[in-house]
């Protein structure tokens, strides 16, 4: 059977990146598993000037660039496609493009290996950080979009290029990128949308990269919430409101998504909608792991960062949860969530029943006790926003219907899984929802005759 369409989700992160791929249910028998891989986000150069994304942490003597994603918004006035970084001698644009291209290439290679054939069409979805409401974020978004265009253009022209040569030389990569820039007419002089409100238009656009390849962006918190939106079995009313808190390694993202489920007999379609997310919060999983290491060492047990990560997600020992350093960490996340909830621009459905469902995802979202703290912060935020008490009381936690290691994976891959979801195109965006109109605002004028 020919496969006409494949979906690839890419979660490009600060510390690690993930890819997933899936085939829509309409194409084949529904696939019960979604393949994924986690790759470190550092761009490395090895002997022979070959560029690659490493699976392991680069050594001190290696030439590499970390936190490429963070660099996108740190200096909005710096050039993107010119001005090579020292040591690695690649521009920021080339670094972002090679990151995305490598992730795409690896995902496609796995897809081909599993399917045994090439799908006719591929829809690529990149996670978009919640860079909202700031000029730096707008510039970062624009540069990210350009880099994605370049990466997808190169991928569309030769889908198996990465399979043939996963570690291109610096010279070759720069040559290929320059050719793509010329073909796409992109440069540092190209106009980019610096409107801080341009987030909406960016996630609603779909781009054609050529040769059956299209790509689009999805807000990270909305992607993480897609899995929760799909849990229709848990819904007891026609409306599902979810607050998504994605606690990743390098950042915590908060967003709000809605799903309306009309009665079957009405014949209407369901609606999936996202509202503007919160700006990214830098308090996240890596910081917690560092604190866990310090806590254990202060108790005479020399653990490392890796063991701290494992303790965080799979450990039974919870003594460290009550340490002030951890309490401070959860408090910072809770404060960020609360501040967002107070100002959620949904005045139509949020104040009404049913209550809000709170979904905590991300690799560090499984930290014991975090979900309850987030829930309390949400309730507090709702009260401060003058939400009726009944709705606040009805607000509760939501969990993905998986347990054990599968739940751990679904949580840490929530963004990538959502990005690769076939429901994504139906996720619309709204700046805000106005309250229900209680009475007509237009009255017929009285006749001049009285």
């Amino acid at each position: 059977m020919e496969v006409t369409t494949a979906l690839v989700g890419v979660d490009w992160g600060t510390h690690s990146s993930k890819w997933t791929w899936t085939i829509p249910a309409a194409e084949l028998r529904p696939v019960s598993e979604v393949p994924f891989r986690i790759v470190r986000s550092e761009v490395c150069v090895e002997a022979g000037d070959r560029i690659f994304l490493s699976e392991t942490a680069p050594g001190r003597g290696s030439v590499f660039v970390a936190d490429v994603k963070g660099k996108l918004i740190k200096n909005p006035d710096a050039p993107f496609w010119t001005g090579a970084q020292k040591r690695i001698r690649l521009t920021l644009g080339e670094l972002v493009a090679v990151s995305l291209w490598s992730l795409l290439g690896e995902a496609y290679s796995d897809l081909r290996r599993n399917l045994g054939k090439d799908p006719e069409n591929i829809d690529l979805r990149f996670s978009l950080p919640n860079w909202v409401d700031t000029f730096e974020g707008a510039v970062g978004r624009g540069c990210y979009e350009q880099a994605a265009q370049v990466a997808c253009h190169m991928f569309a022209n030769d889908r198996v290029a990465w399979s043939r040569e996963p570690r291109p030389t610096r010279e070759k990569w720069q040559r290929d990128v320059n050719a793509a820039l010329r073909a796409l007419n992109i440069s540092d002089e190209s106009e980019i949308d610096t409107d801080p409100q341009g987030f909406r238009s960016m996630i609603q656009r779909s781009h054609a990269a050529g040769e059956g390849v299209t790509f689009r962006f999805v807000a990270e918190s909305s992607a993480a919430g897609l899995a929760g939106l799909r849990q229709a079995g848990a819904v007891e009313s026609m409306l599902l409101k979810i607050l998504v808190v994605d606690v990743g390694a390098g950042s915590t993202d908060v967003g709000y998504v809605l799903r309306s489920i009309p009665p079957v007999e009405s014949g209407a379609n369901e609606v999936l909608c996202q509202l503007p997310p919160a700006n990214t919060c830098q308090v996240a999983g890596v910081e917690l792991s560092r604190r866990i290491v310090e806590i254990y060492r202060s108790r005479g047990k020399n653990i490392g960062r890796d063991e701290a990560e494992v303790i965080k997600t799979a450990g039974e020992d919870t003594e460290w949860l009550t340490h002030p350093a951890v309490t401070e960490w959860t408090g910072a996340i809770a404060a960020h969530v609360r501040a967002y909830v107070v100002n959620i621009p949904d005045r139509r459905f949020l104040p009404e029943m049913p209550g809000l469902r709170v979904l905590v995802t991300g690799g560090s979202g499984v930290v014991p006790g975090l979900r309850e703290i987030v829930l309390a912060a949400v309730a507090e935020g709702l009260r401060q926003g003058r939400t009726p008490g009944g709705v606040v009381d009805a607000t509760n936690l939501m969990t993905l219907a998986l347990e054990g290691p599968a739940a751990t994976e679904a949580n840490r891959l929530a963004v990538a899984l959502g990005a690769g979801s076939e429901d994504l195109p139906r996720l619309s965006y709204s700046e805000g929802l106005d309250p229900r109109m209680r009475r007509p605002t237009v009255r017929a004028p009285r006749s001049w005759t009285g």
């Binding site: 598993e33 891989r37 079995g233 014949g267």
Partner: protein
Amino acid sequence: MPSKRQPSGPGRMSPRDRTDLRTRLATLIEEAASSPDAARAALQACLRLNSPIPRTLLTADNISAAFDVRQIARSLRGLASSEIHLDLSDALSAIPLAVARRAGADVDRRLLADLSKVVTSRLLQLSQRSSARPRRGKIPARDKHGAIRFSPPTVSAAVDLAQWALSIARERHSRRPSGVYPIAVRWVGAVDSLWRRSPCPATLSAVERLATALRSVVPTSVYSRLVTDGLLTPLIEDAQAAALTEAKKALLGGRLRDLDILLTVVGSELQSRDRYLSLLKDLCQKHPSEVLPDAAEWVARKIEAAQPGIRRPRAADESQDAALDYICLCLLAASDAASEGERSVHALETIKRMARDLFKLELVGRPGEIVPYDESQHELTAKIEPQPDRVEILRPAIRWTDGVRSRILVHAVVKAAT
């Protein structure tokens, strides 16, 4: 005991005519196999004489050729093929054919209304000869009078006939959709009555078909009115309740096919499906010795398949499976405890073997061991400049390896060797 059958044809027969007809009946039945006219005449004769009708004569074609709609409706009881479970499926299936023979494709509103009234009234009369309405949630049982019960094909044929009639009604009432409502009410009532007096789980799927047909065939306003007037909901809810009751029996009896049929009955509504599977899951957990393994497996698979939107992630790189985190913790905990005695050492060796053989994980290094510093495997407790040449292992590393590829999952914690 001769069955009571409605006399067919105009007027009553004289005793002489009756005798003549009885004499010819055997010949007509014999010729019926090869002659449609003889089959028709034999059918009519059987009814007029109140004689049992051979099963071979009871086909929809024969019935539609021998009688018009009104006659069929009046003779439903006589055209049944059994006494205990009345099978009216052939007679009901014959009605659209009879209409087509007489009226062609042009079935006007009046004919449709009359037809619906006559047929549904007769069905209700037949079903109300049995006694009180069965209790909610139970498959109708025979009452003490040995009441009439309808066969599953009868219920199915009634649903098909309802769908046929309502499709035509919708076309004929396109300008005034509310005109479909009284016809829909009749058919829902008739099917409801038949279903409650039928024995098998298979009839539950006919109810689900009726509900689906109503949603798609009748105008939305009519469907909504049926719901709000309380005419449809009791039928659907009772059918689902009966399905749940029957499902328990099917699970304990290991009847997987019946479980599948019942799931389709409830499966159209998500909440009902969840309730259905949840009930079966509870049964498996509370009565594990009574549930056959195949049946428990069926329930587990259905529950897994019913998880909407959550496809299980699968690590393309085996070393990234989240399950390995749990094994890493076991290895490290066992390594920590190894210094506490011989039994702890034995436990550590057992866990190491399990981790290696099942998960390709191994501990690298022993606490106290002095080794050359390797930043790909080691994490210094404190930053030291310059980096030491040799280090002492404080906590071992954990490595995943399949013999070809190796990855350090947990770096060893080390300090500069003194």
